[in-house]
């Protein structure tokens, strides 16, 4: 009866191969280059196999995004843990957030601008996304004033980071003043 176990394992491996291929291709050439045909060629199976694992291309992107949420949460946690002081932690976490988005732009897109629908309805996505959000919240907790509640404050700070990242990436903001803008944001949210 181990045959069934092997099959399930192989199936799981193939599913992971699809996600990895999509991720690699997206990071290397952008999401427009990630077509179902190229993906199928990459995993050395035919196109319809993809649809036995995922409902469609959007679901594949969502799966890639899920991995991204875990990575982002880890990156933020590491930055917070190694910070010298609570105030420095805010700056370090902000820098880590921006660095994550800049180094994996396609991944960040999948997480926060594309694939609107699916992942937020499932179960494991909220876990990792919430973990990242919690890292952000714990980071700013020491600096949030009495007037604001933590959740609202965190969401607004997050929006600031997200805005900086996306506007710069779409060339609406020049790279040039980035450090200064980030400093202004951190400074404004640190008292």
């Amino acid at each position: 009866m181990s045959t069934q176990g092997r099959r399930e394992r192989e199936r799981a491996e193939r599913e992971q191969a699809i996600i990895s291929a999509a991720r690699d291709l997206a990071l290397a050439e952008g999401w427009d280059a990630v077509t179902t045909r190229r993906l199928a060629a990459e995993i050395e199976y035919s196109q319809p196999v993809l649809y036995s694992h995922f409902k469609g291309k959007d679901a594949i992107m969502a799966a890639v995004a899920v991995e991204g949420f875990a990575e982002l949460a880890d990156a933020l946690a590491a930055a917070r843990a190694s910070a010298a002081s609570p105030r420095q932690a805010v700056a370090d976490v902000a820098t880590a957030y921006v660095a994550f988005a800049e180094q994996r732009p396609a991944l960040y897109d999948a997480m926060f601008t594309l694939a609107v629908d699916l992942p937020f309805a499932t179960q494991d996505v909220p876990t990792d996304l919430a973990r990242g959000f919690a890292e952000l919240a714990e980071t700013v907790r020491p600096v949030v004033g009495d007037a604001d509640d933590l959740e609202t404050f965190t969401e607004t700070f997050w929006s600031g980071l997200h805005g900086l990242v996306t506007l710069m990436r779409s060339a609406r903001l020049r790279r040039e003043g980035h450090e200064r803008r980030l400093a202004v944001l951190v400074n404004r949210f640190s008292r």
Copy 2:
């Protein structure tokens, strides 16, 4: 010799008709519904005519975005002009910015998240975009501290607004706490 003048005029009218049709269709059904075939049907010409006016679909979206920059600048100017005090102006302009984005989501997308390439290289886009940015800058001028320079401060504030809008629109932030988040942002950037 007025025939040539008439032709040029008709051609300009047709170009405007293309832009308007694209805009209306995008606002009504989203940019995915704006196909070159539907656009051609809308203006009652064949598809290739579109390509005698614009280099491609992206260029059409860019032209729609250009109109949007002018509208946004007007909306911000109106909000600033009617504000009771400098501090109130910051809140009112922020509200106007968000309202603009929420009421014309497809237009906002064309301006700030899609069509990355073209418009920022031409001449007339910077004009209206710069006008909107200048409105924002003049609004926050009274509240910017001595430590920050106006341009950096404005860009960061803008990023905050953009982040709030986009995260809410992609359902990463619930509509619910929007007013509180906007208040936090305005408050943090008003002293």
